[in-house]
């Protein structure tokens, strides 16, 4: 049945060829794919059928070319799609050892972890004494309320080594004892400086799965990779002046006592 339909289609095509002598490009429009294989089957048969009528048309048999062109086109398309998907999968599969350009690194760091890696530490008195200023920081999906001299354990930050200085720029809230600045959602021009202290693995956690009476038991160990950050400095808010008057008063108090004793 399908063969008969295809034959009719073919005959119509061929008659169109002969009647109007249309240019080949009109016939290059591919026939529907469903008729592809039957056409292919027919192509093999067609010379047998049509050769007694004329000789040259077997060469001009545009359906042949169409099929060839279509096959090649579709094959090319499939191949292209295959290659692109393979390339994509390869690039995604090799993500663990992917080499990042510096711009990519900075962009990813800024996008995911909200940090910009500064230069390595210069040991110039970076670690200041405690100041009564706090800030709420976001790193990745976790938020911390942080002050000077605190240490924070976050998920492993990719693009920084130990003893690197980081600038955390996603600051949601800054405050002192007298003032609070609430960000919508970030406080602009507020930065928190931190130093990477450690890249280490957490203690092992055993993941045990069991389904009772079903003979199913699995044990898996997991160690999470963490980064320890020490907060050095919070900028973006007016800090209160430190109270230093206590020490001189103490020494003044001591001296007259000693004088009295000596006398």
């Amino acid at each position: 049945m399908a063969n008969r339909r295809c034959l009719q289609f073919l005959t119509r095509r061929v008659s169109a060829l002969f009647s109007a002598n249309p240019p080949l490009h009109t016939l290059s429009t591919p026939p529907p794919l469903s008729t592809h294989e039957p056409l292919k089957a027919l192509v093999s048969k067609s010379p047998l059928i049509f050769s007694p009528n004329w000789s040259a048309p077997t060469r001009h048999f545009s359906s042949d070319r169409n099929d060839g062109v279509d096959d090649s086109e579709d094959d090319d398309d499939d191949d292209d799609i295959g290659y692109s998907s393979d390339d994509g999968s390869l690039s995604k599969g090799g993500g663990s050892k992917r080499e990042y350009t510096p711009e990519e690194m900075a962009a990813e760091a800024a996008g995911i972890g909200y940090k910009v890696v500064g230069p390595l530490e210069t040991t110039d008195g970076v670690f200041k004494p405690y100041e009564p200023v706090f800030a709420v920081i976001q790193i990745g999906s976790h938020q911390f309320k942080v002050s000077n001299g605190d240490s924070i354990f976050t998920e492993r930050l990719k693009f920084c080594e130990v003893n690197d200085q980081l600038i955390l720029n996603k600051v949601l809230l800054v405050g002192t004892s007298s003032q609070t600045m609430i960000g919508r959602p970030i406080v602009p021009d507020a930065t928190v400086h931190a130093v990477v202290e450690e890249h280490a693995l957490d203690a092992k956690v055993l993941i045990f799965k069991k389904k009772r009476r079903k003979n199913y038991r699995r044990t898996k160990g997991h160690r999470q990779e963490l980064t320890k950050l020490r907060i050095i400095d919070i900028q973006g808010i007016q800090k209160p002046e430190p109270v230093v008057t206590e020490k001189p008063s103490k020494t003044h108090g001591k001296k007259p006592e000693k004088v009295a004793v000596a006398a």
Binding site: E121, T123, F127, Y130, S147, G149, D150, F153, L201, D202
Partner: protein
């Protein structure tokens, strides 16, 4: 592995055997990756020990007198480098489950909230 700017790993002892097959990786690590590792960490004292008849291991000695031993038998040189880097990256603290992810000495700036506070 730097507490307030001070590197915590003082000494790295690379123990290997020249006869055993489990030391193959660490032997090639010593030829290929160890010089670069030494240059990257000038503050680190790397000692090479030859122990025959035993599996190879890396020993890390930290400032807090803690010793971490990692057995590197039958490992590739890249894996040995990863182990050495991990030792250098960590403080010498005991591997215990974390209590909190935020360690602070001054938990409150504006005063801890109680039910009696009225703004």
């Amino acid at each position: 592995m730097a507490l307030r700017g001070v590197w915590q790993l003082k000494k790295l002892v690379v123990s290997y055997s020249d006869w055993g097959g489990s030391s193959r990786g660490i032997r090639s690590f010593m030829e290929s990756h160890l010089p670069a590792f030494k240059e990257k960490n000038p503050q680190l004292e790397v000692v090479i020990e030859h122990i025959r008849g035993q599996h190879p291991h890396l020993k890390g000695l930290y400032n807090n007198q803690n010793e971490r031993v990692v057995c590197v038998k039958n490992m590739d040189p890249e894996e040995v480098l990863q182990c050495a880097t991990r030792l250098r990256n960590s403080l010498g603290r005991k591997v215990v489950k974390l209590r909190t992810r935020h360690v602070t000495k001054h938990p409150s700036v504006q005063g801890t909230w109680t039910t009696d506070i009225k703004f």
